[in-house]
């Protein structure tokens, strides 16, 4: 193979690998739509999306409370996790003593590998009783789910942000210090702006993890189909709905669960569009010039 055909070959192979993620998502969407659309046509789009009652045994399929549940859990989890994770990333890359960083970073990454079931049980055994005793009710709540998710997405956001911070050329940091900037000023004005693309990717992936998490949420959210009046009320997420009932569902119920998946993908796409809107607005090109 001559070098030029090799170049072309490489390019096409890479293109194909890039396309694979589109192909996969399309396949998944096709599959979900194939199973889910019949339910939506049968139940009626409006009744399905804005229906307030979910009672498959009575033939009632309304997912609106779960849309709210999913959005609520995800939003609160991001609200808690993003500041904590970014601060923690800064701590690891700029502040922590090297030996501390050496232990802490892999451990945080390892946190991503603890099974959801364990997080769920931890929540069930430790967090839910704690909340019940301190805030009344059953303890199963939107807040409990968000707290567990906060811990679960912490590793994703922290590790990716930390790498983004560390890959910024040393020269920028030195330039800022040499002007008498404090460490915090350097972080705020030079490092974080330069790390924005990485941090946003981290947040998007963290959000994906939060919105897609199933097992742990099932165990602590209470799974009551209702629009929560406060963060201490139990809620059901769209993902939980699918996982809870899929093992047993047949017929229209089965299709309705896939239709729940369609709604979930719709919610995801809307959230991603919002996130990307900020992403492209904020995208800073580092390394723009040459020399």
């Amino acid at each position: 193979m001559t070098e030029k055909t090799e170049e072309k070959f490489v390019k096409w192979v890479l293109f194909a690998t890039g396309l694979s993620s589109i192909a996969i998502i399309l396949l998944i969407i096709l599959f979900i739509f194939n199973e889910g659309i019949p339910a939506i046509t049968n139940i009626g789009f409006f009744n399905f999306v804005f229906g307030m009652t979910w009672a498959p045994s009575n033939g009632q399929y309304g997912v609106f409370p779960m849309v709210i549940g999913t959005l609520g859990i995800t939003a609160l989890a991001l609200l808690l996790a993003v500041p904590l994770s970014i601060c923690c990333a800064v701590f690891l890359s700029e502040i922590a003593p090297p030996t501390m960083r050496k232990i802490l970073k892999p451990t945080i990454q390892g946190l991503a590998g603890i099974p959801s079931v364990i997080y769920g049980f931890f929540g069930l055994v430790v967090l839910v009783p704690f909340m019940r005793v301190h805030y009344g009710g059953t303890g199963f709540s939107l807040l409990a789910a968000s707290l567990i998710l906060t811990i679960m997405i912490l590793p994703t956001i922290t590790s990716i942000s930390e790498d983004a911070l560390r890959s910024i050329p040393m020269e920028y940091k030195e330039a800022s210090f040499a002007l008498g900037a404090t460490q915090w000023q350097t972080i705020k004005n030079v490092l974080l702006p330069a790390a924005v693309p990485g941090v946003i990717t981290a947040i998007i992936l963290g959000m994906g993890r939060a919105i897609g998490e199933t097992m742990a949420v099932i165990m602590v959210a209470g799974n009551v189909v209702q629009i929560p009046g406060s963060i201490f009320d139990p809620v059901r997420a769209l993902t939980s709905n699918i996982a809870l009932e899929m093992g047993y569902a047949t017929g229209l119920h089965y299709n309705a669960l896939f239709a729940t998946g369609i709604i979930l993908i719709g919610v995801i796409i809307i959230l991603l569009l919002i996130a990307n809107y900020f992403n492209y607005k904020k995208r800073v090109t580092i390394g723009g010039g040459y020399l």
Binding site: S57, N58, F140, M219, E245, M246, Y248, A249
Partner: protein, 258 residues
């Protein structure tokens, strides 16, 4: 692959899975040339796998509707009781079936209405479609006069497994839930219903009425090694294992949930 003489696949209900595994292990010890793999997935997966032939044997933890059972031969392994449970810190030892119905349907909301302290009752149920839930709903809540099922109270917390329900109940003195008799652990207390506690004998003779069947499902007629295995399961050795797992052979054929 399905059909090959010395390989059998069993797929389906996660409740049946542990006992099916036990059966398979014992059977393979006696028949070393046979390989039986037991997989989970859920009752619906069990039914589907049996119907489309992905598995030789599907398993289910509830009585099938006539629609689901089309073309399938059902083998009842035995009956599993469903018990109402509360925290050991709850002083109650039993309820009447009507009280139980009142609590789970939402008409009774405070423990003092059934002789307990003044505290809100936290109801915990299984997810829609669970065999345990179906059995409990059919037998305890029953149907309205127009034929529709009575629903669980809408504010009930939903947990997706036997263990999760027990965990949740064990920690909350005001909670009540239900779970499979076979899986009942030490952290929760089973209530007697109308004065009758669940036990092997009360389930077998049907005096304890809240129970459901564990099923093996085969497409058409069982043949070859599949038939051998099922025959063995239904025979004395299999039944001994089932009994040890608290899956109880009914001595009274009128109490099925069908």
């Amino acid at each position: 692959a399905p059909g090959s003489g010395s390989k059998v696949t069993v797929v389906g209900s996660t409740s049946v899975q542990p006992v099916a595994e036990k059966l398979a292990t014992a059977y393979m010890k006696e028949h070393p040339n046979v390989k039986i793999t037991v997989q989970g997935g859920g009752t619906a997966v069990g039914i589907k796998s049996a119907q489309d032939g992905t598995a030789n044997i599907g398993t289910a933890s509830k009585a099938l509707s006539t629609n689901d059972s089309q073309g399938l031969t059902q083998y009842t392994l035995g009956q599993d009781g469903v018990v109402a449970i509360v925290s050991p810190n709850n002083n109650l030892t039993g309820l009447t079936k009507d009280q139980l119905k009142g609590i789970f349907s939402g008409n009774i909301t405070n423990w003092n209405q059934v002789g307990g302290p003044d505290a809100k009752i936290n109801v915990i149920v299984r997810e829609e479609g669970s065999g345990t839930r179906d059995a409990f709903q059919d037998i305890v809540l029953g149907k309205l006069s127009n034929g529709t099922k009575v629903s669980f109270v809408s504010s009930a917390i939903v947990q997706s497994s036997t263990q999760a329900v027990q965990q949740a109940v064990s920690q909350d003195p005001n909670a009540i839930g239900f779970c499979s008799f076979a899986d009942l652990g030490n952290d929760t207390k089973a209530l007697s219903i109308n004065g009758i506690s669940a036990s092997a004998s009360t389930i077998a003779d049907g005096t304890y009425t809240i129970q459901r069947p564990f099923l093996f499902l085969v497409k058409g007629d069982a043949k070859g090694e599949v038939k051998n295995f099922i025959d063995w399961v239904m025979g004395p050795e299999g039944q001994a294992i089932l009994t040890s797992q608290k899956i109880i052979k009914s001595t009274n054929s009128t109490n099925s949930t069908k």
